[in-house]
């Protein structure tokens, strides 16, 4: 009946608690390729689905260091190597005067790293994604909570999986075409 290949099965819930519970049971059942979608971050879902910790903080740290070191380097180069002016009798390397810019650029670097890192790891921007094919998925940004088990999952079985999902008392379970 499906012209397109199947991406996965998606269950819709109307409460975050239900989603968390469902996620836990799916994980228990041994599914690895499942993902939950919610209108706001629901505590415990990621843990329930068994995802590890994110590496965003590391990227931010690196960004910050690069920014700060770059800034001081620039100031030092400009005043000591490139153009050692006598400015009001102050020494070429007036490091205290270089601190503010060092700090500012440090922050700037870290901030860019945070956002770009986050988007990159989320593979955003991503204009198309199969889950949008689910008719009521629009509610994922309003008041409904979805759990999708992908067809690629090694133990995915159209009937077994559907049964498992329906046991959790969802609003409905739909097939998500590729």
């Amino acid at each position: 009946m499906h012209t397109k290949a199947l991406y996965g099965l998606m269950a819709e819930f109307d409460a975050p608690e239900a989603l968390r519970e469902a996620a836990a049971r799916v994980r228990a059942a041994g599914y690895t390729r499942a993902e939950a979608y919610s209108p706001f971050p629901v505590e415990g879902v990621t843990e329930a689905l068994g995802f590890g910790r994110t590496r965003v903080p590391l990227i931010v740290l690196i960004g910050g260091i690069v920014g700060a070191v770059g800034a001081f380097g620039m100031e030092w180069y400009a005043n000591v190597l490139s153009y050692p002016w006598n400015i009001g009798g102050k020494p070429p390397n007036s490091w205290p005067a270089f601190i503010p810019i060092t700090f500012e650029l440090g922050v700037l670097g870290a901030s860019f790293a945070a956002v770009i890192g986050m988007l990159a790891m989320n593979k955003l921007p991503q204009p198309y994604h199969p889950v949008f094919n689910a008719p009521r998925f629009g509610l994922a940004s309003r008041d409904r909570f979805f759990l999708c088990i992908e067809a690629e999952d090694p133990i995915f079985d159209a009937h077994a999986t559907r049964r498992l999902l329906e046991e959790m008392g969802p609003v409905e379970v739909v097939e998500v075409p590729q």
Partner: protein, 1061 residues
């Protein structure tokens, strides 16, 4: 109006184009100029600018004059005229290298030797000629500013008849024909009116004229001629004589209303000598003591150890009293009481104790009687021959000019003359109010016979289309002294040849030419006339050509100074009935204006914007009154009053000036011009008020019986500084712009209490008396307070080495600075400093790089006054530098705080952070506004003209430094290896010692000294080593390179400090 503005000046085509361009580029009407952000008084604004020569004309002039400098002049004058460079300069023009020529500037009739810097044929800068006795290398504001007058676009540019353009040919024909006709009929009725004439050539020409026209009448009129001085000598010795003073020998000087440091023809010489005898060094034992009794507040008065402000008429009695005490025969004792008596007594004693080294100097404003008495006193004190000498007057024919003018008016009225030539001057404006010269001249010019033909002939040689031109039939443009050959004698007789630096920009003629025309001489060029005269003079002495060259090079003719004449005992005139100075009325005192003199400089923008001494007023004159008088009359700065005296009246603005005697009003002549240029006159037609309208020939110095009437309207007076804010005067709150408790104290003396010194005083001006200084040389240093003693600590390593010479520094001696302003104008001329106009000055946007602050202290009627020139301090730890975001102001290895205009984006942070506020900002395109007219020819090519939106400031004349540095490097390169070490250093230091900044070179007293502070032998280094050397705001540890020498007073122990407390 005889003349509309739509007249075209025929010599230059392209005028129309210029005008229409003007109209295109100047959208708003001139009327609304004041409201726009352009300076209201932009001197070159308005239709006059349309008359500016086209660029093509500039090139002609430039080319011609460049050629003239040593080559063949090419112009309408076919003759070859060689002018000769000053001796220290190469004979030929090197592009980029200026030539210096020696010539002389006629001022007030007398000559002052000047050196003129000429760039590729453009005269750009005036300096004093060290070889000239009336200059000694110094200049005053008028000499400095005369270069701008040369390029004044408002100068008249063409011969006019009845206001309509004509040409020299037409004029020459009509004049000669008329004179021919007269010669047939016994040459009656010809008259010429000149200023005071001290030009030998002109004298000779006039002699010839008299031979040719026996009946010719010659009148001289000079508003500021020294009539009383001459009359005084007349009274004392039976003939007019010039008195010369030799202040370098003087120990005690008593000035009786005399401003000998500024108004005298020899003032520059006097100032130099006064300073020499006044200077204080660590080993000084004795300096001149100066007593001044005066009716105004003069520059001289501000230097006095004891100053007594009195009503002008009192001076006569004081002189009598002095004479009596000093045993001048035939003087009845006059009794005074109180301070007056103490002043006279102490002054007399001091003079007695210094026979032959004292001097009494009467002021020109005082009646002849005072001068005669002064002669008697000086004789009685054996001063004659040492500090005072008398010489024959330098004038060809000394006359009582005011009487002369009266006679001329009579002659015009009763028709004894029918042909009048006015050579120079502006008598229609400068004539005394009781001599109806203008009216007479107007009637005379317009008188017609029955058939409507004009009866009389009036011609006028003048620099501007002014009040006099307006009343004459013919007007001939007068050549500037830098445009025509002539010669002139200084007050002491020393004669100089005036050699022109440039061909007449506007086809101007000199008086010599007109006289030659009258004489029908074949050779009419001034060049030939002057040479002919001197060839005749030196008929029997050697090679004339060689003498001519040497003389031109030197700038003075050797051995022309008059020898002192032997005079008999001075006869004392019978004591005139002392004018009763009624307590009810006020005295009105007349003085030439310190900026525009008698009005002849009224169209000079530099001088108009030059802050007047003490009041710091610009673009206006005012009726000056003392605080007490102001209080009594319920007046305030800027109130308009009507001055009424003997039936004549004038409206004037009031300005309160501490230190004036009460019940006097000081009025400066020279303002209220009705014609004569865009600068001289204001939008509403008049700038300032015309004091001549009150000036009676009988009372030239001062008149009594003045009444004031307050007007409702106010008068916007603009000053560069609120001088009330600068005075810590007590009890003048009613005139002060600043609340009493906010008045800053700036003057410290050893009498200042510790608390006062540490907590209240800004310690800007430090004053000690000579005895205090000698007993404790550290006295001045102690006035710096605790903060000055603390060592300078810094977290930073000292990473810049200033030990390698040259390191530039400046020392300014407050002891000898007389506040004459010459340095300001010199700086303006040297550094292309724009003027901004009254409106912008009112908005505190004046551009002067150097200012002279005047501080008052003490009581409002007996204040002490201190002058403090403030250029950039060139701080080693410059606060302006580290705040600049683009590095536009940085420090050079030679310790200069350098401003890189190209790099400046105009954040103005540097100015905010400059404690001395010496930085100036181009809020508009000030520098370019004035560059559409001929005045751009004056610009110094070695100095950038700054664009809109950049900061600028004193550069220690870095262009001069660099020129010297290049010379130094060249000489060092010329040397061989083994020479290089020692000789190179000596030579270098020698050259650096010759280096002078513009302000230093102009300063008459040598108060400003600049040089290499690492060279122990250099003057500046020795000065900075003096115990009384200090820096401004030393507690900020900016380490300025400009430092000051404290003011050291020399009061008579018998009297208190300062005034006559």
């Amino acid at each position: 109006m005889k003349q509309g503005d739509n007249r075209t000046s025929e010599p230059f085509e392209g005028d129309r184009l210029w005008r229409s361009l003007e109209e295109l580029t100047d959208p708003a009407s001139a009327a609304s100029a004041a409201l726009r952000e352009f300076p209201a008084d932009n001197p070159w604004r308005g239709p006059d600018r349309a008359d500016a020569p086209s660029r093509r004309r500039f090139l002609q002039v430039l080319g011609a004059s460049a050629a003239m400098a040593g080559l063949v002049g090419c112009s309408d004058r076919p003759v070859e005229e060689k002018i000769v460079p000053y001796v220290r300069q190469p004979e030929q023009v090197v592009p980029g290298r200026p030539l210096i020529f020696a010539t002389a500037m006629p001022f007030n009739g007398y000559g002052r030797g000047v050196l003129v810097e000429s760039h590729e044929g453009r005269p750009t800068k005036i300096e004093g000629n060290p070889d000239h006795p009336a200059s000694l290398g110094a200049t005053d504001v008028f000499m400095q500013a005369s270069i701008l007058s040369l390029y004044d676009p408002d100068r008249s540019k063409t011969v006019t008849r009845a206001g309509r353009p004509s040409h020299w040919g037409a004029f020459a024909t009509e004049l000669t024909q008329r004179l021919e006709a007269k010669r047939q009929s016994g040459s009656r009725g010809i008259a010429i009116l000149t200023g005071a004439v001290a030009s030998p050539t002109m004298g000779a020409q006039i002699k010839d004229l008299r031979r040719r026209f026996p009946e010719i009448a010659w009148y001289q009129y000079e508003p500021t001629a020294r009539v009383n001085t001459m009359a005084g000598a007349q009274a004392a010795f039976g003939r007019p004589l010039t008195t010369l003073y030799h202040l370098d020998h003087a120990r005690i000087i008593v000035s009786l209303d005399s401003d000998f440091l500024f108004e005298d023809p020899m003032s520059l010489r006097y100032a130099r000598h006064f300073a020499n005898a006044r200077r204080v060094r660590s080993d000084t034992r004795e300096i001149t003591r100066l007593y001044v009794a005066e009716s105004t507040l003069s520059i001289t008065g501000s230097m006095a150890d004891h100053r007594l402000p009195v009503r002008p008429a009192m001076i006569t009695q004081i002189t009598h009293a002095l004479a009596a005490r000093l045993g001048v025969a035939g003087i009845s004792k006059l009794q005074f009481s109180g301070e007056l008596d103490r002043f006279i007594a102490t002054a007399a004693d001091d003079l007695k104790q210094h026979p032959g080294t004292g001097v009494v100097i009467p002021g020109e404003a005082q009646p002849p009687e005072v001068h005669a008495l002064a002669h008697a006193i000086n004789q009685a004190l054996k001063n004659v021959g040492t500090t005072v000498t008398c010489v024959e007057p330098a004038e060809v024919e000394p006359t009582d000019v005011r009487q002369a003018l009266k006679k001329l008016v009579e002659a015009m009225e009763n028709g004894t003359i029918d042909t009048l030539l006015i050579l120079g001057g502006n008598p229609a404006y400068t004539a005394p109010a009781d001599i109806p010269f203008a009216q007479a001249l107007e009637k005379f010019s317009n008188a017609r016979v029955a058939d409507g033909r004009l009866t009389n002939f009036t011609a006028r040689l003048g620099s501007h289309d002014d009040e006099t031109t307006f009343l004459c039939q013919w007007h001939v443009p007068e050549a500037h002294y830098l445009e025509a050959w002539s010669d002139v004698r200084a007050a002491d007789g020393t004669t100089s040849i005036i050699q022109p630096l440039i061909l007449p920009l506007y086809a101007g003629r000199s008086a010599h030419e007109l006289l030659a025309l009258m004489l029908k001489e074949t050779a009419q060029s001034p060049y030939e006339l002057v040479r002919a005269h001197w060839r005749a003079q030196r008929r029997d002495s050697g090679d004339f050509e060689q003498w001519w060259l040497d003389t031109l090079k030197k700038g003075v003719i050797d051995g022309t100074a008059s020898a002192p004449v032997q005079v008999g005992a001075a006869k004392i005139p019978a004591p005139s009935s002392t004018p009763s100075t009624s307590v009810t009325s006020l005295d009105l005192i007349f003085r030439p204006d310190p900026c525009v003199w008698d009005g002849s400089f009224a169209n000079n923008a530099w001088l108009q914007e030059l802050p007047k001494p003490f009041t710091k007023l610009v673009w206006d004159n005012a009726a000056l009154i003392s605080p007490t008088t102001a209080h009594r009359q319920g007046l305030w700065d800027g109130d308009a009053v009507t001055l009424m005296i003997s039936g004549k009246q004038v409206d004037a603005p009031v300005r309160v000036l501490p230190g004036l005697p009460d019940d006097v009003v000081v009025a400066h002549l020279g303002y209220g011009r009705r014609r004569g240029g865009a600068v001289a006159t204001d939008e509403n037609g008049v700038r300032g008020f015309d004091a001549y309208a009150l000036w009676a020939s009988s009372t030239p110095g001062f008149a009594t019986g003045l009444t004031l009437q307050k007007r409702s309207r106010r008068w916007e007076l603009v000053a560069t500084r609120n001088h009330h804010a600068m005075s810590a005067l007590q009890g003048v709150d009613h005139v002060a712009g600043v609340k009493p408790h906010l008045k800053p104290d700036v003057v410290v003396t050893p009498e200042t209490s510790r608390d006062e010194l540490e907590l209240k005083n800004r310690r800007l001006v430090r004053v000690v008396s000579l005895p205090q200084f000698r007993s404790n040389p550290q006295a001045v240093r102690e006035l710096g307070g605790e903060s000055a003693k603390k060592p300078v600590l810094s977290l930073y390593p000292t990473s810049w080495d200033y030990s390698q010479g040259p390191q530039w520094g400046m020392s300014i001696d407050l002891q000898t600075c007389i506040g004459c302003n010459a340095c300001i104008v010199a700086c303006q001329a040297e550094n292309n400093i724009p003027i901004v106009g009254k409106f912008e000055v009112a908005r505190m946007r004046e551009m002067h790089w150097l200012r002279v602050d005047s501080y008052f202290s003490g009581s409002p009627d007996r204040p002490s006054v201190y002058h403090q020139p403030v250029p950039c301090m060139h701080c080693e730890n410059a606060p302006c530098e580290y705040v600049c975001p683009t590095g536009a102001t940085t420090h050079s290895t030679q310790g200069l705080n350098e401003m890189t205009y190209n790099r400046c984006i105009g954040t103005r942070y540097c100015s905010n952070n400059c404690p001395y506020k010496v930085r100036r900002f181009n809020f508009f395109a000030f520098g370019y506004q004035s560059s559409k007219g001929p005045e751009q020819l004056q610009k110094n090519p070695d100095v950038t003209v700054r664009t809109r939106g950049v900061m600028e400031k004193c550069s220690y004349c870095v262009q001069r430094i660099n020129r010297t540095r290049i010379e130094v490097e060249k000489t060092v390169l010329d040397l061989t290896e083994q020479q290089r070490t020692d000789e190179a250093r000596q030579r270098r230091q020698a050259m650096y010692n010759d280096l002078q900044t513009a302000c230093q070179q102009a300063c008459p007293t040598g108060a400003i000294v600049f040089g290499d502070i690492t060279d122990r032998q250099s003057t500046v280094a020795t000065l900075k080593a003096q115990p009384h050397d200090y820096t401004l705001l030393d507690e900020l540890t900016t380490r300025p390179r400009t430092s000051y020498l404290a003011r050291v007073t020399n009061p008579n122990p018998a009297l208190g400090e300062g005034g006559v407390a």
